[in-house]
């Protein structure tokens, strides 16, 4: 131990002796380690940190799959069966989500409300901070109306009133009793502000239909000792039973069981792993740079090592001394990196995807992140210290004497070692740059992909789906239509319409039977379905390709017609005129519905998202039978408005127009439609931006490393270059010699990097389909060229220095 202490003291002295190299090394390490710590804090929070519930690895989410769709919500009656029949779950709860309007607290406010089965909070292991959870009798259609407030809503609307429990809240015109307040930061699947019992909905047609999927998600806690696979088999057996009893509704569905944590982390996993790979590259490049510095130092200390060896120091002792130095350096770098990371985490939160951190809350530098930093710093220190240490401790006395005495400029091996480092650095930088360029290009292409509608000069406003509680949909429609008529009268409004769902905002799937196929549950296909008012299609500027769109004649009581998109028409009526063809569906209430129009295809999930469901259908909401109107899940009504002039001149008149239809109704989610386009690209744009940033950093570090190595190569080769000049080499030849040496390394690095980039981008293409085109040769060549130019610049200055080598070194012995 005292020996180690001595080593440490000596190491500190050695670091202090060369303050400039030491500072450069510490700064480089701090930057790279800080970057790694920041990204890891996001990886940890989003992918690894246990969910903030008790024994979170027992929590599972249950969805259903159909042949053409992997993830679907579960029909409510199925939930009741899964719940009753399973033997695997301690509790199997369910949750849904709805938009509801709160009045009586000043301005009417439209809020996202989570609907929980009464056993869901106990399943999570969460108790309200104030009051109590739902009682079983409240979780029923006729139960007393009980509501739980989210902590933020309680603070915002009730000023954290401690006596809030027992007070009343008017939601969708009904009185609800506040039974409790959730703990601060409680969040599961949706950013909701209120919680009500799911069972209050159980009597609604939508919740009694085995074919309807009103966004019900099952979340359960496994019994002790029951494995995921056992639970899966259990659910599958129940599902098979359902399929036999309800072949029509359930024949093609299967349950899908996944750990809740994994399911929640899914959307971020690919991007975060990519960023982690990127910062690992940056770290490796930084470590190579520091290894170069240490190697250089080690070489200048060969004599010292020689003396130490001569004095009887064993090889391990020498290695330890050097390792203590490099690890010390890495630890100082790591500590500085940690400070940088404090700021880096803020940057990440500002630049990164909004969902970063998931349920477990904001990113922090916590225990595991600290541990990671420590391991990374230690590993880096050993990584960049070991090689130089092994090198410097290699004592070949005879060779050393021969070299210094005879000046046969040797040391080729040590130059080769450093050359390898440079090749590695350049390769990493090239790979990272190519991947960044591919990602950014992919992103730009996504921007240019036709959305199928025109989001500019378009505005969206949300209206309540249930303006009059417990009234038939026709009553609600009167409000939507009157609001629409008032909006159309506003000067500057060119067109307007409403729909139950809208591209990039919400979606709805309905089934149909492809023509010419035998009617069976497995043969049913899903289509993205819009239930619209006349004018909606025109307002979005979706082109009409054949037939007609909905007009003022398509009112309640007329025969429903169907408008399909081009994909639908091309797929099922390739050689026929689709107009007048009939399709078997579920919503029209008819044996089959007639196609009256074909419109262009719309990118429902945004320009960059892969389209899992290619087909689209439009119905006029007014034409649907009341049972169908009641069966569709309405979160809110999307009113779209195409305008001329400035958006500010529209917003206030629009609010007034809606108020004129019903002054108690809020207008929410009001804003330019292009916001939704931007949001759909947000996650990838921020990942692309960060990737670009890291790649630029990698490039800078690699160029610094290259030019440092080449500078050192010139120093190492001074004697040889002097001899060459003495023998008559022209300055040009000497420059060429050094540049050739540098560019050989750069070239090898570029070649390896390009191969690496191909492998990496192929992986990315499978992780995030459609995000990169791994065969985009132009990007590879552009990056290779850029690296070539940077490499040339980095070797040129040292090469120029080489021509100034004094040939007198050949005569005078150093």
């Amino acid at each position: 131990m005292p020996a180690l202490f001595n080593d440490l003291r000596y190491a500190l002295r050695m670091l202090a002796k060369r303050p400039r190299t030491t500072l450069v090394a510490i700064f480089t390490l701090a930057l790279a380690i800080g970057l790694n710590t920041s990204i890891f804090s996001a990886v940890y929070a989003s992918l690894l940190r246990p969910l903030p519930f008790s024994e979170p690895d027992e929590l599972m989410i249950v969805l259903e799959s159909q042949p053409d769709i992997e993830r679907l919500a579960v029909p409510y009656p199925n939930y009741l069966d899964y719940k009753a029949e399973n033997t695997s779950f301690e509790t199997l709860g369910a949750m849904s989500v709805a938009g509801m309007t709160v009045t009586g607290l000043g301005n009417p406010e439209h809020l996202l409300v989570e609907l929980h089965s009464h056993d869901l909070l106990p399943a999570f292991g969460v108790e309200p901070a104030l009051g109590r959870a739902f009682l079983p009798e409240e979780d029923a259609p006729s139960g007393a109306r009980a509501v739980l407030l989210q902590h933020s809503f309680w603070t915002r609307r009730f000023a954290s009133d401690p006596d809030v429990v027992g007070q009343k809240l008017t939601i969708d015109s009904n009185e609800w009793t506040i039974v409790g307040v959730m703990p601060e930061g409680f969040k599961t699947l949706f950013p909701c502000e209120l919680l009500i019992p799911l069972g209050t909905r159980a009597a609604e047609p939508l919740f009694r239909d085995r074919a309807a999927r009103p966004e019900v998600y099952l979340i359960g806690r496994l019994k002790d000792g029951v494995s995921e696979a056992q639970a899966r088999a259990d659910l599958l057996a129940i599902s098979d039973g359902l399929a036999q009893r309800f072949p029509e509704e359930h024949g093609a569905s299967r349950p899908l069981l996944r750990p809740l944590q994994e399911e929640l982390a899914e959307p971020l996993r690919g991007g975060l792993l990519l960023l982690l790979a990127a910062v690992t590259c940056v770290l490796l490049i930084a470590a190579s740079n520091v290894a170069n510095l240490m190697l250089e130092r080690a070489m200048t200390r060969q004599k010292e090592m020689l003396v130490r060896a001569a004095l009887g120091s064993g090889r391990w002792r020498l290695i330890r001394q050097l390792l203590v130095e490099s690890v010390l350096l890495a630890m100082i770098g790591g500590a500085a990196g940690l400070l940088l990371a404090l700021w880096g985490v803020d940057l990440l939160v500002a630049m990164g995807p909004r969902t970063l951190g998931g349920l477990s809350g904001p990113l922090t530098i916590n225990g595991p992140v600290l541990l990671y930093t420590l391991v990374v710093a230690l590993g880096t220190g050993l990584l960049f210290g070991l090689w130089p240490a092994l090198y410097a401790s290699r004592q070949d006395l005879s060779q050393a004497l021969k070299e210094s005495d005879h000046h046969a400029s040797a040391g080729a091996s040590r130059l080769r070692a450093r050359g390898l480092l440079v090749v590695g650095e350049v390769a990493l930088a090239v790979a990272l740059l190519i991947v960044a360029v591919l990602s950014i290009r992919g992103l730009n292409q996504a921007h240019q992909v036709e959305l199928g509608f025109e989001p500019q000069r378009l505005l969206m406003a949300g209206l309540s789906a249930t303006p009059v509680p417990d009234a038939p949909p026709a009553t609600a429609m009167q409000f939507w239509d009157e609001a629409l008529r008032n909006v159309l009268a506003i000067p500057g409004v060119e067109a307007a319409g409403w729909s139950a769902t809208a591209p990039l905002v919400t979606d709805q799937l309905e089934q149909f039977l492809p023509p010419g196929v035998e009617a069976s549950p497995e043969n049913m296909r899903s289509a993205i379905t819009y239930l619209v008012s006349p004018g909606f299609i025109e307002t979005l500027d979706v082109p009409l390709l054949a037939g007609r769109t909905f007009g003022s004649q398509d009112v309640a009581g007329t025969t429903p017609g169907l408008i399909v998109d081009q994909e639908f028409a091309d797929a099922f009526f390739p050689d026929q005129n689709p107009i007048g063809q009939r399709v078997r569906d579920k919503l029209s209430g008819l044996p089959s519905v007639e196609i009256i129009g074909v419109v262009g295809h719309v990118r429902q999930a945004g320009a960059d998202a892969p389209e899992k469901i290619p087909y689209q259908m439009y119905y006029a909401f007014a034409q649907l039978p009341e049972t169908s109107q009641q069966q569709v899940r309405l979160i809110f009504i999307h009113m779209v408005v195409r305008f001329t002039g400035s958006i500010e001149d529209i917003i206030e008149p629009l609010r007034s127009a809606v108020a004129a239809a019903d002054p108690t109704q809020p207008v929410f989610a009001l804003g330019p439609y292009s916001d939704h386009v931007d949001r759909s690209l947000m996650a990838r744009r921020s990942i692309g931006g960060l990737l670009g940033l890291f790649a630029a950093l990698a490039l800078v570090l690699a160029v610094i490393g290259l030019s440092a190595v080449m500078g050192n190569v010139v120093v190492q080769r001074t004697h040889e270059l002097g001899v060459r000049i003495a023998l008559g080499a022209q300055p040009r030849a000497v420059v060429g010699l050094v540049i050739r040496q540098g560019m050989t390394l750069v070239g090898a690095g570029i070649a390896i990097g390009m191969l690496g980039a191909y492998a990496l981008s192929r992986t990315i293409a499978t992780l995030m389909p459609g995000s990169v085109d791994e065969t985009d040769l132009m990007s590879y060549l552009a990056v290779a060229l850029a690296l070539g130019v940077f490499g040339l610049a980095a070797t040129y200055l040292p090469a120029r220095r080489a021509t100034r080598v004094d040939p007198m070194v050949a005569l005078r012995q150093g």
């Binding site: 400029s409 040797a410 003495a726 050949a810």
Partner: protein, 238 residues
């Protein structure tokens, strides 16, 4: 001195050649006002105590350094004031060097080392090969052509260095203490090699401390504090 009339111009003619080194506060007159003529084919030795300017004078003769004052005519042409690249060309075409510390390049084989100065000239590959082989033959190192310098003894390295110096058939061969790092046996062998080259007509200027080797030369120039203080010429041995 040999009569100069009707002879071609001497290979080297120095008039008032001086070299001043200026360091921070010190001015060193390393070569001071040297007048010297060396006819073609002569074997000249430069002697003098340490620090007397021998290496400096040799570096001026070899165009490795430029004089502070005076003129230097090489083969009748003035070479003072040539550009760095012109000096480089002159070096590789007309001057060969043998250094005390051999200065073979460790990464290159014996034959590549010998070939090195030839690669700085425009010369067909076949011609280059022929000359390398001939030079190695001359110094008796043909059997080691593929070896690296580190695999050779000091004496062998110096023989390779001599081969490198003469492969280009230079008009002038400069050697700075070529035996300084060798034992007497190896030193003798190298000196014998130089004598053979001289017999074959090469002009040699050599710095040496060893009076025995100095006797090989036809003429010894004694330097002291950068000045020529004494010359003794002997009759040519052959």
């Amino acid at each position: 001195m040999r009569p100069a009339s009707a002879e071609p111009p001497p290979l080297i003619r120095l008039t008032g050649l001086s070299k001043v080194f200026r360091t921070d506060e010190l001015e060193t007159l390393a070569v001071a006002d040297v007048h010297l003529e060396i006819p073609r084919g002569h074997y000249v030795c430069i002697a003098g105590p340490s620090g007397s300017g021998k290496t400096t004078l040799l570096s001026l003769l070899g165009l490795l350094d430029t004089a502070s004052a005076g003129t230097y005519l090489l083969d009748g042409e003035t070479v003072t004031g040539l550009s760095a690249s012109a000096r480089a060309r002159t070096r590789c075409e007309r001057i060969g060097f043998v250094f005390q510390s051999f200065n073979l390049i460790g990464d290159l084989t014996v034959s590549e080392n010998v070939e090195l100065p030839l690669t700085y000239r425009a010369m067909p590959t076949a011609e280059r090969r022929r000359r390398v082989a001939a030079a190695l033959e001359r110094v008796g190192m043909s059997h080691r052509a593929r070896h690296l310098p580190s695999q050779l003894s000091g004496g062998q390295q110096q023989r390779v260095a001599v081969a490198r110096a003469v492969a280009g058939e230079p008009a002038l061969l400069l050697a700075d203490e070529p035996t300084g790092n060798l034992d007497s046996k190896n030193g003798d062998a190298v000196m014998e090699l130089l004598r053979e080259l001289h017999r074959a007509g090469t002009t040699i200027v050599m710095v040496t401390h060893n009076p025995d080797y100095a006797r090989h030369a036809e003429r010894t120039i004694h330097l002291f504090d950068g000045r020529v203080i004494e010359e003794d010429a002997r009759a040519r041995a052959v």
